[in-house]
């Protein structure tokens, strides 16, 4: 008996050490990729010049590229990765659906609809490229409302339909429906409105003004704090609504917090960077494989670090270091995320209904 407990203790200590080691490795990767993302780009700049630009403020041309463009872009990539992955993790737990994510379930589409209403419904002047101050907040709020509305619909659907693939298909239907509405809006909108909307849908990490980056950072920080606060509730929700309620969780309150948090995270990113796919669904699975746990007190910080790292890699790849051209970041994230999603679907026999 003593021996069993002894073994367990050592096992626990071992797993604790492993967890710390993985966290350390992930943090290291985030820092490394952040530096690489600043150093590599479509314009070849020697590392020594980068350092000079950062510390000496000498060469004005290079300084502009590094300080005004590459640095904010890297920070945006990091923030976007964190936000999308966290919203994906929360959605997977709250819907008890391994296939949930802001993009596949149409939350990002909902956010786009919100943005489309602002750009094409009111004025081409309130487009991400040329607004500032309060306009940024109007745009982001519209995006939250759009994301929240779809999130609410998915919540209602998944409370009735338990099958994960069915919910997924309904999510795809929803986003197609929303695209149709946006298409109709495009048909009736003026040329200038249409142009600013199309530019926005291309999605980019590099077009944010410093005011927009501030709005994004504040929104995502709020979402991160809310999600840290919700980790105990998420753990209880893993058991399903009935058991969660029986151990003292206020399920309605928990769902509301997570609903608000997910809408803010996914909505803010979509408002400024356009719909970016497959990060939200794929990263939480990578984190679960890394840590082999279901405990959100580990999964949430793990997802923050992994999401940041994956998005930074995607950004580095999209810049095609050494060449003059730049790929759309959405294409890169899809190519990284889709294999993970396929792997989940094919492994579904083993996981059937679990996540």
């Amino acid at each position: 008996m003593k021996k069993i407990i002894q073994n367990e203790l050592t096992e626990e200590i071992k797993s604790g050490r492993n967890v710390r080691l993985i966290f350390f490795g992930l943090a290291l990767m985030v820092v490394l990729f952040l530096i690489l993302d600043i150093f590599l780009g479509s314009v070849n700049i020697r590392p020594t010049d980068v350092l000079r630009a950062v510390f000496n403020h000498s060469n004005s041309n290079l300084e502009t590229i590094i300080i005004k463009f590459r640095f904010p872009k890297a920070i945006t990539a990091l923030t976007v990765g964190v936000a999308l992955s966290l919203s994906g993790l929360q959605m997977q737990t709250v819907f008890r659906n391994p296939m949930a994510g802001p993009y596949v379930l149409g939350i990002s589409s909902g956010a786009s609809l919100g943005v489309a209403f602002v750009i094409m419904g009111f004025s081409a002047n309130i487009s991400p490229d040329n607004i500032s101050g309060l306009g940024n907040w109007i745009l982001v709020a519209a995006s939250w409302v759009g994301a929240g509305a779809v999130m609410l619909l998915i919540m209602i659907i998944s409370s009735r339909v338990k099958d994960v693939i069915t919910v997924l298909i309904l999510g795809i239907m929803l986003s197609s429906g929303i695209s149709a509405i946006v298409m109709i809006m495009q048909y009736f909108s003026s040329e200038s409105m249409l142009k600013s909307y199309i530019l926005w849908t291309m999605g980019s990490l590099g077009n944010l003004t410093s005011g927009q980056l501030n709005v994004l950072l504040i929104s995502v920080a709020t979402g991160v704090i809310l999600s840290l606060f919700s980790s105990k509730m998420l753990n209880a929700l893993l058991l399903g609504e009935n058991y969660a309620g029986s151990i003292g969780l206020n399920v309605k309150f928990a769902r509301t917090i997570i609903f608000v948090c997910t809408s803010i995270l996914a909505g803010s990113v979509t408002a400024f960077c356009g719909p970016i796919g497959f990060i939200g669904i794929a990263v939480p699975h990578i984190v679960r494989i890394l840590f082999r746990t279901s405990d959100h007190r580990i999964l949430i910080p793990g997802t923050i670090l992994t999401g940041g790292a994956v998005m930074l890699i995607s950004d580095i790849i999209s810049q095609l270091p050494g060449s003059k051209s730049v790929l759309p970041v959405n294409a890169v994230t899809s190519l990284i995320g889709i294999p993970v999603v396929i792997w989940i679907i094919l492994g579904n026999r083993k996981y059937s209904g679990t996540f």
């Binding site: 008996m1 069993i4 407990i5 367990e8 096992e11 626990e12 008890r96 840290l228 606060f229 980790s231 105990k232 753990n235 209880a236 893993l238 058991l239 399903g240 009935n242 058991y243 309620g245 029986s246 151990i247 003292g248 969780l249 206020n250 679960r288 840590f291 082999r292 746990t293 279901s294 405990d295 007190r297 996981y351 209904g353 679990t354 996540f355």
Partner: protein, 339 residues
């Protein structure tokens, strides 16, 4: 007065059912009952009669449509969700399907109503968790993944989680459904031990009447329009269980709490002999559709005394010998004339 002190759950004309919008569907007439410390209470009734609704209402997962539930003399609505979870725990047939969740983590979730905002497990929680694992003899499983357990093992882990929750009242909705025979009896044994040595009150629903009659201290028998309560033996004497069954098809024996199908259509037969072997011979022939006669018939069965494992079937002046009951019944069935 002694009983009053021991009573920890009181139902005062409780109405259960569903409410959607303004329309209410009340399932049973108002229930007034109670449960004492350390009692094992079986809830019996047909499917859809309201067993689950009653248990969910008692757990606070569903609101009562009228009347009151008192835990330790205090109304259920007077407890916050966390406070209630420290008094009342719940398990059902619902399977927890989570990959990457270790048994220890699942049991640790039982500490939910006791831990701080982020769910930090302190040393006191740790000892409660280990204690729960020990009581359910699941210590060796603590680092295994829940998704790899058998149904019976998983249910024991769920009970361990309930123990870690430290609730004195455990509500179990069909805790032994979908579990194989060995697992079933292990869980039943565990429930028995918990009520008798750990002073837990367990209210469980079951479809296994035999199990309920043999093990529980009290039965809540839910019929279409009433709830009858009492010790299982009291209900036997009152013949309350007879209402559960369609008496033209099933015959309930209120002497030993067993059932048989009414198919005594093939005639009567007399058995000569006694003891253990006679008991099972009677069972076998009544299953085959014969009635055990008190008077001598032709043919009749003779059970020789001693350890010889054979039966004699006397037909007129002939005597057949059979080496098993299986063979005996085959012999009887082959008889051309009606007996």
């Amino acid at each position: 007065m002694m009983e009053n002190i021991k009573e920890i759950l009181n139902l005062d004309s409780l109405k259960i059912g569903y409410q959607s919008g303004k329309s209410k569907k009340v399932l049973l007439p108002p229930i007034t009952s109670s449960a004492g410390r350390g009692e094992l209470i079986a809830v019996i009734g047909r499917n859809g009669v309201g067993k689950s609704t009653l248990l969910r209402t008692l757990t606070g997962l569903q609101l009562p449509l009228g009347g009151n539930i008192f835990y330790y003399g205090k109304k259920i609505s007077g407890y916050s969700k966390m406070e209630l979870a420290q008094k009342v725990g719940f398990i059902s047939t619902e399977v927890v399907k989570v990959s990457n969740m270790k048994v220890y983590d699942l049991v640790a979730l039982g500490r939910f109503p006791h831990t701080n905002w982020i769910g930090k497990i302190e040393s006191d929680d740790r000892s409660k968790i280990n204690d729960a694992l020990a009581k359910t003899s699941m210590q060796t499983f603590s680092m295994k993944f829940v998704s790899r357990l058998s149904d019976g093992e998983r249910q024991k882990v769920m009970i361990a989680r309930l123990l870690a929750q430290d609730a004195s009242i455990m509500i179990m909705d069909e805790p032994t459904a979908f579990i194989d025979i060995t697992g079933k009896y292990e869980i039943l044994q565990l429930m028995h031990t918990l009520t008798h040595t750990s002073d837990k009150t367990i209210i469980f629903s079951t479809h296994d009447l035999q199990m309920a009659i043999n093990q529980s201290d009290k039965v809540w028998l839910i019929l279409e329009n009433e709830l009858i309560e009492g010790a299982p033996e009291d209900l036997m004497i009152a013949g309350a269980f007879d209402h559960l069954f369609d008496s033209s098809v099933v015959d309930f024996n209120s002497e030993d709490g067993t059932f048989s199908f009414r198919n005594n259509t093939k005639g009567s037969i007399y058995i000569e002999g006694k003891g253990h072997k006679r008991h099972w011979t009677e069972k076998a022939i009544s299953r085959a559709g014969f009635h055990v006669s008190k008077e001598k018939t032709n043919p009749y069965i003779i059970i020789p005394s001693g350890n010889n494992n054979f039966w004699k079937l006397s037909v007129g002046s002939y005597t057949y010998e059979c080496t098993s009951l299986y063979e005996l019944i085959k012999c009887l069935d082959r008889m051309p004339q009606s007996i």
